[in-house]
């Protein structure tokens, strides 16, 4: 099969070197099997259709790694609230008191049998005495790395 793309004679002077190069460049008798083009097309299509799946692989691996790392951080963090109420320092079963709350039930409150906050005295009694100061570093895994990082003065000299 010969290449027949825009075949026009070169427009420069026909010197021997040009004749040589033209003869060489136009000799494109390439043996192409009857199914070669179809096989090439099928191979290309297989690669094209497989590629989107492969493109997701790095993203999936990266996403999985990040999720695993976050999971590890959460597991290693000491729980501030064993009850899981989300309120640091709050005792189990005690909701945080607001400044407007009182021991008397609110007007119109419905007694549905659910455990409810009954008064500020009980809540205060249940709170730990040494509440963490706002200036204290938070006690989590990220800060642990901060705590255990050697300062410049502690760096070993080799």
């Amino acid at each position: 099969m010969t290449g027949d793309w825009n075949v026009n004679p070169p427009s420069n002077d026909e010197e021997p070197i040009d004749r040589l190069l033209t003869a060489w460049a136009r000799d494109r008798d390439v043996e192409v099997g009857p199914d070669a083009a179809r096989l090439a097309a099928d191979r290309a299509l297989a690669e094209i259709h497989a590629a989107p799946q492969r493109r997701w692989m790095p993203a999936a691996i990266f996403g999985g790694s990040v999720a695993a790392a976050l999971g590890g951080v959460l597991l290693l963090s000491p729980a501030d609230d064993p009850s899981g109420s989300g309120a640091p320092g709050a005792a189990p079963g005690v909701e945080l008191a607001s400044s407007s709350s009182s021991s008397a039930p609110a007007p119109g409150a419905v007694d549905d049998g659910l455990p409810r906050f009954v008064g500020t005295e009980a809540a205060l009694a249940a709170l730990p005495e040494d509440l963490p100061d706002l200036d204290d570093p938070t006690d989590d895994a990220l800060m642990a790395s901060y705590v255990f990082t050697l300062g410049p003065a502690e760096e070993p000299i080799y």
Partner: protein, 174 residues
């Protein structure tokens, strides 16, 4: 081509039937090896599919568009491969005796020209192939090589001068 851009596998197969042979011929001229040429055309076919939606029939024919992709794939491939001289290259170039693969004077001459062209940088080789083989214009070659027509003129002039020097011995045969 519009069907290919729309993701039609059968249209892609039909287009490949038309483009494959000429593309392989060009790639073989630029790369000098059938195996490498087949790989380059394979890569070019995948690129053709992926860039099909950017094809503008008002600007170029499909063949010209694909030729540009093929030449680029050949040059990229040549950049990524270490140059390896064929085992018999030095022997054949230095010897005036026809080898077993070149039984006629014409074949021998073409082989010597081919060997000389293979010593050129890939971009010069591509420019020579497109200019002399395809009759491509400076603009078309510049587009294929992603450069300017002026730069193509320089590429061709350097390649031609270098080849004229290398093929001095063939001058008497013409």
């Amino acid at each position: 081509m519009a069907d290919v851009a729309a993701g039609d596998d059968e249209a892609f197969r039909a287009l490949t039937e038309v483009l494959y042979g000429p593309a392989l011929g060009t790639a073989m001229k630029v790369l000098g090896s059938r195996a490498e040429a087949e790989d380059a055309v394979q890569t070019a076919l995948v690129k053709l599919w992926r860039t099909a939606e950017r094809f503008d029939p008002a600007k170029a024919k499909v063949e010209t568009w694909f030729r540009r992709i093929v030449v680029n794939c050949c040059i990229d491939r040549k950049r990524s491969l270490k140059p390896v001289d064929p085992i018999d290259e030095a022997f054949d170039l230095e010897s005036d005796e026809p080898g077993p693969e070149a039984e006629t004077a014409g074949l021998m001459r073409d082989k010597r020209v081919g060997d000389a062209v293979m010593k050129l940088p890939a971009r010069q080789r591509a420019a020579i192939t497109l200019f002399y083989g395809d009759g491509a214009t400076m603009n078309e070659i510049a587009e294929a090589l992603e450069t300017t027509p002026k730069a193509v003129e320089g590429l061709l002039a350097r390649a031609r001068a270098e080849l004229a020097k290398m093929l001095e011995g063939l001058r008497e045969e013409l």
